[in-house]
């Protein structure tokens, strides 16, 4: 089992990693993925070195935070949960009151020295809170706990959706949902919820979604309706991926991306650049790499001896998967356009920091079984 590096041979690097309480397998996989990401970003950004340096700086900062978080003990982490959650909630309300508007949505909070997106913070605070709450309860989850958890999840999700930021509210919501799922909410309840949602779907369509959100869903279903308007992203993205073929056009040779036909190509649509230049073969490899990372996270969750750790690590790993699935699904035209980046590859600082801190928590959980039993 390559996923598990256990045994007696304690190499030098292993010893260093252990000293920093890092998971060597996960570190290696993340390193490969980040390298891959930089390679694609170099191409997608039009060989722009400034862009690369900024991304590398962020990666450095994010890795530093990962190491710091990996060294926080699980008990401290659990104690911080409630504070983080309430703080995050407060910031979300602050955004509504004083937030800045960018790209038509109110997401940012300007603290003077740093511009900050509280919803991003909630991606971590949410699973921490729900895991912390449920880990003290008897599992599987009963009705009362389910209700409390549902409120814990829905309040920030609705606040974020109101900004409006469908992508983030989806990620925050699923982080909370995964904790509930892992904590063993009964199938019967899922079925009732599922039925309820499908009954309410027409109402949600009419009242809960913004016009542009409805538009995006319609566009996904039929992008050719408006090839130069809202369908343009999806059409060009599909052309990029499809024209890549089995082996791709080669690094830096993607015409869709290099000639500017593909919009948002260094951020949300970077997977299309990858697909165009490295083909189906490259895409399979990349997906495989992502799956290894997700499975390593799930493994760490499974072998953790602490319920809080199990729930948190599992939920964080599965949220990472949601990033991957929503992004690749969107870029390939399976899902509507939702602003979700390709994790650790897309250009942009906030999500990278959040993700790496999340992996820091997973590693903290992983090391706790050895050091903090």
């Amino acid at each position: 089992m390559s996923l598990v590096m256990e045994g007696d041979q304690l190499s030098m690097s292993r010893r260093i990693l252990d000293a920093f309480r890092l998971d060597p397998t996960l570190m290696l996989l993340l390193f490969i993925l980040a390298s891959f990401g930089l390679l694609v970003l170099f191409s997608a950004g039009g060989s722009n070195m400034d862009l690369m340096i900024r991304q590398l700086t962020r990666l450095g900062l994010a890795t530093f935070l990962l190491v710091v978080v990996a060294n926080i003990s699980l008990r401290v982490l659990k104690k911080l949960s409630l504070g983080f959650y309430l703080g995050g909630l407060l910031l979300l309300v602050a955004v509504i009151a004083f937030g800045e508007i960018g790209k038509g949505a109110q997401r940012w909070l300007d603290l003077g020295f740093i511009r900050f997106q509280p919803s991003e913070f909630m991606k971590l605070a949410m699973p921490m809170m729900v895991a912390s709450y449920l880990s003290d309860k008897v599992l599987p989850v009963g009705w009362k706990d389910l209700l409390v958890s549902a409120v814990l999840v829905l309040v920030p999700v609705l606040l974020i959706a109101r900004q409006p930021d469908l992508g983030t509210s989806l990620l925050v919501g699923s982080a909370g949902f995964f904790v509930l799922f892992l904590a063993g909410v009964r199938w019967k309840i899922f079925m009732i919820l599922g039925l309820l949602v499908s009954l309410m779907a027409p109402l949600l369509w009419k009242f809960a979604l913004h016009d542009y959100q409805r538009g995006r869903i319609l566009t996904m279903l039929n992008p050719e309706n408006d090839p130069l308007g809202s369908g343009y992203h999806i059409i060009q993205s599909k052309i990029a991926i499809g024209s890549g073929g089995i082996y791709g056009k080669g690094w830096l040779n993607g015409t869709q991306s290099q000639l500017d036909f593909l919009p948002e190509r260094s951020t949300d649509f970077i997977f299309a650049v990858f697909g165009e230049e490295f083909g189906f073969f490259g895409a399979v490899l990349l997906v495989f790499l992502y799956l290894l990372i997700i499975y390593r996270g799930l493994y760490i969750a499974a072998v953790s001896k602490d319920t809080y750790g199990r729930l948190l690590a599992g939920a964080l790993s599965l949220t990472f998967f949601v990033y991957l699935f929503v992004n690749t699904g969107m870029v390939s035209g399976l899902l509507p356009v939702v602003g979700v980046p390709l994790p650790l590859v897309s250009y942009g600082g906030t999500s990278m920091v959040t993700l790496m801190v999340g992996f820091g928590m997973i590693m903290a959980i992983g090391s706790s079984k050895r050091f903090l039993r």
């Binding site: 063993g184 060009q236 895409a283 799956l291 799930l298």
Partner: protein
């Protein structure tokens, strides 16, 4: 159950979470397989489709407009060429608000509503990212002003393109025609692919008739473009093929001379070589500068030309239909002899008017006192009307019409230009069909002196004169002598084409008529005797005066009392030299009064210029000596 709910069971909780984790792992795998399946469909199954789409994104066809063929006169003088001109062009895709941009541009240059209208028309048929001209011919000053401020306008360019130019200006415009901007009407007729990148098309005359030759073949460049339409590199190209060059039969010196001879008069001259139908000069006066039309004429200039009572836009040589007057007399004279209605010695007494049996109406001779006893020679030389009233009465309209048609009257000559009119050779049948009325004998009489319904174009008259000079062989008039192909293909020499032959029954008949025509110029009492002075060759001709203004029975036409616009048209038709015809000329001076005083001198000077300065006479005699 209640017990379990209150006690944490670590073992079963671990089992529960692990089961859910494994379940998640399975769902993750399934969902990612769906994504991979989607990618498989896009990248493997539908790869061809997307590859094509990707290429059509990236590769763009750029039209390379061909250079329009040049036009030379018969001696190689340039009549139409192409000059570089600076154009203001717009790439629509790069302009966010077109109205706003045009508004701001007009702060620097004047942009007429016409230019905007034309821009919108051509905009509609452009390819994506193709630049479309807004202004075609920038002056140096406009160019300077725009160039300095161009950085303020995204998607606006100044490009140097070739533009049609007519170096002789208003000379020969009615022979050449002109090109103008392609409009909606043209678009419906042409193959748009052939005209990609071209802004001009032949609108009139030769430029229109020979459009296919002159235009050339459009070339294409396959270029790689980025999303904003910028050309990154040329992938391959097929170069354009220039249009064919035309060498005309027109002699530009003769043409200019003929035009200058008109001074302020209105009218037309057609001079041609009767031996092959080559048109040497095709004049319609007044003329205008065709360069005005190339870049889209301003409304003010256009309305000035259109509304002028002198009608400069009207091509009198091909489109003007005039009563031929007495210039028809030699033809009817020949008809009389050929149909044996009269002999050449037959005489008619002319007492100043002619009466039809049982009719009161007097058919006047132009000479009030009459010509007395008149035979054919005298009737032609002195243009006796009464002789021809009588002859027409004997011939009858049917035979007159049948005869004249064989000399090309009443139908188009088929010249290689546009707008030609057929004239009108009236007949019994025509009147019944067109007017729904029977033919009256009086109409036969006035047809006999070239009046009434009979109408000819100057070109028809020249062509008919040429046919008379050649004893009935009529060549189709043409303006192009040679087509020059680019790239080493042999030139195409246009072969003379015979459009009709009238076989003279007795050559002596023809000689009698020509003798009369010769006497018109060379005879002491000939109506055009004044042009015989210092003449070194022989001319056979006939003057004509065509009534514009109807005069009542007992009134007299007094030139002084009739306003200039209602004066008679002066006509003259002639060929020379008589023994060996080299040139046939028809002259019409509108409201010029008498053919003898105004029209004949013009013909003489044209013949002088053609026959003497070119030494054609000497050459021809040399050739004959050798034979």
């Amino acid at each position: 159950m209640a017990y379990r709910e209150h006690l944490k069971d670590n073992f079963s909780e671990t089992r529960l979470i692990q089961r859910r984790l494994i379940l998640s792992a399975v769902i993750v795998l399934i969902l990612m397989f769906i994504v991979l399946g989607r990618l498989y469909v896009l990248q493997v199954v539908e790869h061809e489709h997307f590859s094509t789409l990707s290429n059509s994104n990236r590769v763009s066809l750029k039209a390379l407009p061909p250079t329009r063929g040049l036009i030379y006169d018969r001696n190689g003088v340039v009549l139409a060429d192409n000059l570089p001109a600076y154009r203001l062009e717009i790439i629509r895709e790069q302009v966010s608000d077109i109205d706003d941009t045009i508004k701001h541009l007009s702060e620097y240059v004047e942009i007429s509503d016409y230019a905007i209208k034309k821009y919108r028309q051509s905009s509609r048929r452009r390819r994506p990212y193709e630049s479309v001209p807004l202004l075609l011919n920038l002056t140096d000053e406009e160019l300077a002003r725009l160039a300095v401020n161009l950085h303020k306008f995204e998607g606006v360019e100044i490009n140097a393109r070739l533009t049609r130019n007519y170096p002789l200006g208003k000379h020969a415009v009615h022979a050449l025609g002109y090109v103008g901007r392609i409009d909606v009407k043209d678009l419906n007729q042409l193959d748009e692919a052939d005209y990609a990148g071209t802004s001009y098309i032949g609108k009139l005359g030769l430029e229109k008739f020979y459009e296919d030759d002159l235009h050339g073949d459009v070339g294409f460049q396959r270029v790689e473009v980025n999303a904003s339409g910028r050309t990154l590199r040329v992938l391959d190209e097929s170069p354009p093929v220039s249009g064919h060059n035309l060498y005309l039969t027109i002699d530009s010196k003769l043409q200019q001379l003929a035009e200058d001879l008109f001074k302020d008069n209105r009218g037309s001259v057609v001079a041609l070589d009767p031996n092959n139908g080559e048109v040497l000069a095709l004049v319609s006066m007044p003329s205008f500068d065709p360069n005005l039309f190339v870049n889209g004429i301003s409304f003010k200039n256009y309305s000035e030309l259109r509304d002028s009572w002198k009608r400069p836009l009207f091509n009198r040589a091909l489109t003007g239909q005039y009563p031929p007057g007495s210039t028809t007399k030699p033809f009817f004279g020949l008809a009389g002899l050929e149909y044996s209605v009269v002999g050449h010695k037959h005489t008619t007494y002319c007492g100043g008017y002619y009466l039809l049996p049982n009719e009161e109406r007097k058919y006047r001779d132009w000479k009030k006192t009459g010509h007395g006893k008149t035979d054919l020679n005298k009737a032609i030389t002195q243009s006796c009307d009464v002789y021809f009233y009588d002859l027409a009465y004997s011939l009858g309209i049917d035979r007159m019409s049948e005869f004249m048609k064989q000399f090309g009257f009443g139908s188009r000559t088929g010249i290689d230009s546009t707008g030609e009119q057929p004239g009108l050779m009236p007949s019994r049948e025509w009147k019944r069909r067109a007017r729904g009325m029977p033919w009256f004998p009086g109409e036969t009489l006035i047809t006999g002196i070239g009046q009434g319904a009979l109408l000819v174009t100057p070109l028809q008259l020249a062509s008919g004169t040429g046919a008379l000079a050649l004893k009935g062989t009529r060549f189709k008039p043409h303006l192009v002598k040679k087509i020059e192909y680019p790239g080493g293909i042999d030139d195409l020499n246009i072969k003379p084409e015979i459009s009709g032959v009238y076989e003279v029954k007795k050559e002596i008949n023809w000689q009698h008529v020509v003798k009369g025509m010769k006497n018109v110029v060379h005879g002491i009492r000939g109506t055009a005797h004044r042009i015989a002075k210092n003449l070194s060759y022989t001319i056979a001709g006939k003057t004509g005066t065509a009534q514009v203004f109807g005069i009542a029975q007992d009134e007299e036409y007094e030139e002084e009392n009739v306003s200039k616009k209602l004066r008679d048209h002066a006509l003259f038709m002639a060929f020379a030299p008589v023994e060996n015809p080299l040139i046939a000329v028809a002259v019409i001076v509108e409201n010029g009064g008498h053919g003898s005083s105004v029209a004949a001198p013009i013909a003489r000077k044209i013949m002088d210029a053609y026959l003497l300065s070119n030494d054609l006479l000497a050459e021809k005699t040399e050739q004959e000596k050798k034979l």
